[in-house]
Subunit: 277 residues, 4 copies
């Protein structure tokens, strides 16, 4: 029997769950998992349902749309997402993604890795994936991004993953992939925004460092947070030691966030995420 | 508008959510929060719904029972649970509960504290609650427990909380409060079961210690786990230092477990818990 | 045999450990524990030594001073520190300190609790400690603080503990207790500085909240960090839920920081702490 | 200036630190970092000193030996350790080590990977390292191990790393690499020893799973613990989900343990480790 994932986002009103589950019940579909949440602030309703059974997806989607005219409805099979990874020169997050991809844990198909630096080519080649170096020197931000976008679009990705990509994307590019770009940030948000976060953390004498995976929106480092984690440090850690500890957190947090996103478990509500895990 | 908590446990079948939400919708009741889970192993369905609106609870419960004849259904208002706390001589968990109780965070009404030792009386008296010392010396386990039960039952508690109560309860007593006795265990389950767990942990050179809050069933330290947490330790910790670190974990884990239980968020499925938090 | 704690802070140079341990060895004193650290940035040396044996402390201190003329040297017996606690109206941190004090875990003698609000009096009275309400209404900051200081100084505390004291201390008061005032901050530093941190955390959709215990210096919420910890949260947590989760972190972090400080394990190096635990 | 790492393990007596630091001071060597610990149980003294300066290591070692005749003394330069990795079929730990090795973070030189299964060959080949499949079918444990040892010894490793190697080593092999074999265990020790640990964890309904890196000694899964870590799970995790979460913990814990071991920060004291980090 086929399995489906139904995602619904709607202004809240009475009877939403009833109307959805009625359609599924009458279609003889079996709910395997179900999550709902109403965001108190925005009075918005979110629902994710996994169900199994025989159905014609277009018909079902039409029925649901008729019953919930104000809702945004997505109906999909579980499947590997097409992804392009952007990176600059640090190998730890990219390498971890390539490994997970190689042994089938990523729930994605990495179609290519694109970089503004040549450093990571040999790592990507080990995994027999296309690598594109799109140089930025001598180019304006817009010209570089146009070149980058040309390469990226050739792979028709659903998602972009920024695995330590150290350049800022323009709103134009971000707008093409709304809530479909996931970044790993080298610190807790909103702390230590900017360059040299570990030097800032060292100077401040923090006892914990962390990492944040988030969707990219038009504000740098300010999109909805998907996952965060931390690791303890102490006075014996230099800024370099903190950076190394941070790398281990970064790669785990990025992988966790991507798993959640690629399984359709993440909704965006304003600047927050609703995560059904 | 009144708020209600509906808890349903049922053998799984198609249409359960639909049938429940239909009744709520037709009763013009507004679902505020909703969680469901199907235990893959036992094919059992669990659902917790918070809803608001005007309703006659007995009528509603009858309607639900008619629609889900095989289900176990509980319908209740959010309310403070009547509790008796059992403790022996360590003050850290009991003290923490008394404080939370005093400032209204416990979601329970502690009716009395009962102990097999006199040590904690002054602590309990600080909070103007009844304290009963039920001596066990010279008594058989059965005789002591009969005396204990006499005191406990006088307070008609819904739940018993074992806040470092160091005696084993008989199956007879446990059977009177099925999944209504919460214990805090001085270690991870299933590790280091038995006496002197911190000495065992020290001897083993562990780098992490933890605590487990669980329901008591007829197997000692073996009931369904509600909450667990850990704290790192190292070679500089003596067994005593580990015990002190452990106390801080124990009191936080016990409080978290009680919050979950008293809010009706915990279901028992075989030897596991389903927790909707 | 008596036990002593020796704390040395000195500009770094060769032979410091040798000179110190030579004096202890010739005095037939037995080193039980020893920690050293050289701060790379400031080229400063820190050492904490626990030793046991018969000695005349004044003589020993003079010998050490002669051998390390540039060093700051403290020689002391392990002892309970005299403390005044300042609080405003939240009971969770204060209550936790009172409990630990009552059962002998705090390594301090709480001489009094002083507040700018009357709310916490009954809690303090339960533990038979002096409570002083120093009203601030109608007074300038300076006038209120002068009244407060009058009360505090009457107890000759070595340390002040700010257990959710919600007023800002003036540099004048802070200067009287250099690195002897410990505060618990309702968030990670440097994130969410200011009012309503949990509302800020909620609005930002964070997945982790934390707490920071730090020395107070003349910059608000900016003194050297002693301890930090975190707790995971998710989209189901309201700002109020986050605040409650935060309270559990705050009280544990504050207690941990005080244990470190009162055992003489914390040195301040610029804006960072060196902690020998 | 050259840097050295001095490791001393000795029955405890007065003056040990003094005697060591005297020799270093007189040799005009500058102590960069220093840690000592006395194991209360065994009355044994451990010391690790990093120092910089010009010295003749053999002479210095002889001086130290003369001053501390009962001590075990190791003097070494910081260097990459020669390692052979043993693995069976799971790629997550091995892949993580290969990545860290490739980008220079492992403090080791992986000379070869040896396996009792052919599955991981392609992964190892990506990193251009030797891979040896030593089949066990049809062989006695002793015969297989003899074949394995033949391959391993050809690479003269200082350390063996068991990166999910699923066969039990004989005491004979373990005895050749005393406290030089590091294993990653798929659970907390001492919990869930044996096969299918995640199935056991699922059946027990645990809320936390973890991993333990330890030295291998003659008791299976019972050697001194080097590092442990945990990750929270809940009722929605199947045994397979728990295994996946466990893999992320395993690879991070193994890498952390190896960093500590390869930097000479780990001492073994009975069945416990002393770790100077």
């Amino acid at each position: 029997m086929a399995t489906y994932i139904l995602r619904i986002s709607s202004p809240d009103e009475k009877g939403l769950i009833y109307r959805v589950t009625k359609i599924l019940f009458e279609g003889r579909l079996n709910i395997v998992g179900n999550d709902e949440f109403v965001d108190d602030q925005g009075r918005h309703f979110f629902m994710r349902t996994e169900f199994a059974g025989d159905c014609r997806p277009e018909e079902l989607q039409a029925q649901l749309k008729a019953a919930l005219p104000a809702a945004h409805i997505e109906l999909d099979r579980p499947r590997r997402r097409a992804v392009v990874v952007l990176a600059t020169s640090e190998p730890h997050c990219l390498g971890d993604l390539l490994l997970r991809h190689a042994y089938g844990e990523l729930r994605a198909q990495i179609r290519a890795v694109v970089s503004n630096r040549p450093d990571l080519e040999s790592l990507v080649r080990r995994f027999e994936l296309p690598f594109h170096f799109v140089a930025s020197e001598g180019l304006s931000r817009e010209a570089h991004e146009a070149a980058l976008l040309g390469v990226v679009q050739g792979y028709s990705p659903e998602y972009l993953v920024l695995a330590k990509y150290m350049r800022i994307l323009t709103p134009a590019l971000v707008g093409r992939y709304p809530y479909r770009i996931v970044n790993i940030h080298h610190s807790f948000l909103p702390a230590f925004v900017g360059a040299s976060p570990y030097r800032q953390a060292y100077a401040r004498g923090v006892k914990i460092i962390g990492a944040t995976a988030h969707f990219v929106d038009e504000q740098l480092d300010e999109g909805p947070i998907i996952a965060q984690s931390v690791i303890p440090v102490d006075h014996t850690h230099s800024a370099g030691d903190m950076a190394q500890a941070g790398r281990d957190v970064e790669k785990v947090v990025l992988a966790r966030a991507l798993k959640l996103v690629f399984e359709g478990r993440v909704f965006v509500s304003g600047n927050r995420t609703i995560i059904f895990d």
